[in-house]
Symmetry: D2
């Protein structure tokens, strides 16, 4: 559309199917002139149509378990070979709570599940940056983005331990972002996205009602996956070089609402 | 009850009637052993039963328009005479939007009304501190508290220009609090209180429905005026000497909620 | 460069000279294909080279005192005539403290100066949106941006009453942004920019030392006026349609730093 | 002093030696009329003088590894036996980074160390509340407090993975605090304390310089361990019943400073 990413090289984690935000980011990055490698966990790749996406965008796929330093080392090395140079942008779109999947309530966590979910959803972001930083794999003024959710700041009862994982993830963005900025001129940010009806999001209890609530609370309505991809493109582009360590709400205004007229309508009869 | 304010001297702005938070603060401060002066705008004093409060707490009343530097100079001088020394604590509980009173919508403000409401609700806090600071009227480790509301951070559509006034008020607390701390060891904070059914609050449109919404959103329910008075006492006491420049939410947890189960119940049928 | 604003029409407040952020925004908006009207206070226009900017960008100039509803009504009407339709983007880059100019310390404010500075720096933003909203002058998915500074959240002792003005300005963005989003699908945000050596900024005492401090604190260094213009373009573009009510830090990471190694170096000898 | 905790029963984690904040809390809680059990990790107890504290405050000691559900179950059961009823207040003052202890830089973490530190410093708080909640061991209007540090919000380069652990801890306070408030009327908050020269804090590199920096930045200076104990008492008392889900800065104002005059002095020569 605009050639915003012309000549830029990237790695995109987490494209599962066409509902995924990462899938939309890949499509939009391709339209904007970028070249990139797609990656996902080996098990996730069996389910999704990531090969179609690769074909459509002229990308190669490198499977990687984002909790494995070996896999990540291989991913980054191979990506630089395939793309012919250092990396300009990275999208981390990975999250999974075993407690949610197994139906364990937050007040009755299984701590092995807690640890596994934390490793996949949050520590993986540290590991990805660890590899990129120590291999000096990022170009100066590169951009790293992870997707997060406002449960890191405020209580959403059904979000379970993903709230805590996202708080940890956002902290990693600041902590590692400092060193990545100081040493390599790379920026690191998180996008805190509206609840989005992705395949992954559908695991959360009462998700439809919650999407409706968020829609009514947000003056511009919920942000879609495609709109999130557009916003992500702006953060990968050269227009945002000095934005770093930030958690950026992309949510139609939800995050700064106390209450909307539309939500209040349900309470006025009392 | 605990003698937390034994020997301390104060000035309490804004006690109108027994629903006022300032009224409850006066009663509780008296119970805790403090001596203080009560003050309110001359016009407000005609309406309320402040003389009963003065009798009950052994206090004198000094009328003052909190937008008038002359009145405030007189108030502070007289207070020190009456109380026999410098001041240990001050409560600022003053707020009024002329646009709200006159039914002007936020998108159609009358800017004379806006200016008047800003002067009364926000600048008055600067003026009070200006007088206290320049007269060196506060004892070291004194405590100044102003009441505010979360509309300063998040949108509550019917709160009108009081949202902006409260944002300005909270900024004054930080800006002046720095100099008051650095130079006189005095702390300055704001308490961001639950919606409270005071006589003043009743002017806001749809207030009852909003109180019900806030009650359902807050895990501990809304904080009452008496509970706010208790919290204010803790901030006047010597237990909180190093708390300054803070905006402290006293709201049963509302401020850090995204949504509660109880609020979501109204949205699940969709 | 990218045609990001092709076909879009705008109004840009506050271009004084080539150091101004608004000046850089005008240049970049022109490069991106936008058409716009330039405006500034009549008195400011006598000092600056705004005519050169107008010539360079093919723009017309409409003088307006941003505190005058008459001037703003005229500005918006004339702009729509000149541009041949509704407005897509607006930049508010206006700020001035009379207390700072006259050397009045924050603890010794002249309240007439306080009121004048508040009207120019903060209420002007409400008035601009009031006119745009009530004339239905904005296209759907339009974007309104005001420039602000982090003194709205944290204490910078020499920033004086501009801190409070910026807090009020940011609150207006949320308060009016709700109605503009709900009713007209227009987004409203503020950019909280690094200290920038503009002509206006030079009035603040100790500004050079402060710029050096901010440079050392920020992992990516201070953001320049041109970089701010780039970021502003991204917020005017269609890539950020669902970002609203936000205060967006554009500061090389300063806002989320507690301390940097580079700042700590000055304190380690102790 | 004030009998603020008369008749209240508690559990205090983390008193190591007389420099510990938890030690000061125990002393102050005793003065205020509380009865409580002291607990610490078996290994930590060998080093400290916790027996002296127990003798001085008439308390019993129950060793517990705060990462062990068995130990925590035993602790809570025994505590209720010893104290003769349910618990009114709990202090969690536990934190340890193996990466810091072993000298691993944040950009080169050992992930086994990361996991161990996270479990001890953050998940332990979830486990403590899990046991208290499921055993219904807390009285209504009880209060749970954990100690944290502002590195959860802002970058302090030497704080290493403790920053991320504290972010996770603060998120647990909100997430579990919702259910504890809704179901048992118990409040959960964190206190974000000034850097404090405890035995534990001394492990952090450059800690003395950092304390000096924080002292110069804070208008009231750093908060001491004893002052933190006073503040904690206020949060255990009945004066703060409706404060919940909050992260409360107790830091002489540091958290809301951009820069102080005293810090700027080091930068003005440039």
């Amino acid at each position: 559309m605009y050639n915003l990413l012309k000549g830029k090289k990237g790695i995109i984690f987490g494209a599962l199917d066409e509902n995924s935000i990462a899938w939309k980011v890949a499509e939009r990055a391709h339209e904007e002139g970028a070249e990139f490698v797609l990656t996902n966990a080996p098990i996730a790749m069996r389910m999704g149509g990531i090969k179609d996406l690769a074909a459509k965008t002229g990308s190669e796929i490198i499977p990687a378990d984002a909790t494995s330093m070996d896999d990540l080392n291989n991913l980054v090395e191979k990506s630089m070979e395939i793309l012919g140079g250092k990396i300009d942008f990275v999208l981390h779109s990975i999250g999974m709570s075993v407690n949610v999947r197994k139906g364990k309530h937050y007040t009755d966590s299984n701590y092995d599940f807690t640890t596994k979910g934390w490793d996949v959803s949050a520590v993986s972001f540290h590991k990805v940056m660890n590899v990129l930083y120590n291999k000096q794999a990022m170009n100066e003024w590169g951009s790293i983005v992870a997707l997060t959710y406002m449960a890191a700041q405020r209580v959403f009862p059904d979000y379970n331990d993903m709230a805590d994982n996202k708080a940890y993830l956002e902290s990693i963005a600041r902590s590692f972002g400092y060193f990545f900025g100081r040493d390599h001129k790379v920026r690191v940010n998180t996008i805190s996205q509206s609840p989005t009806p992705t395949t992954a999001g559908q695991g959360v209890k009462g998700f439809d009602g919650f999407i409706s609530y968020a829609e009514k609370m947000s003056p511009l309505g919920n942000a879609t996956a495609l709109e999130c991809a557009d916003y992500t493109i702006s953060l990968f582009s050269d227009l945002t070089k000095k934005v770093t360590l930030q958690n950026l709400f992309h949510d139609g205004g939800f995050s700064n609402m106390g209450v909307s007229d539309s939500v209040m309508e349900r309470f006025i009869e009392e």
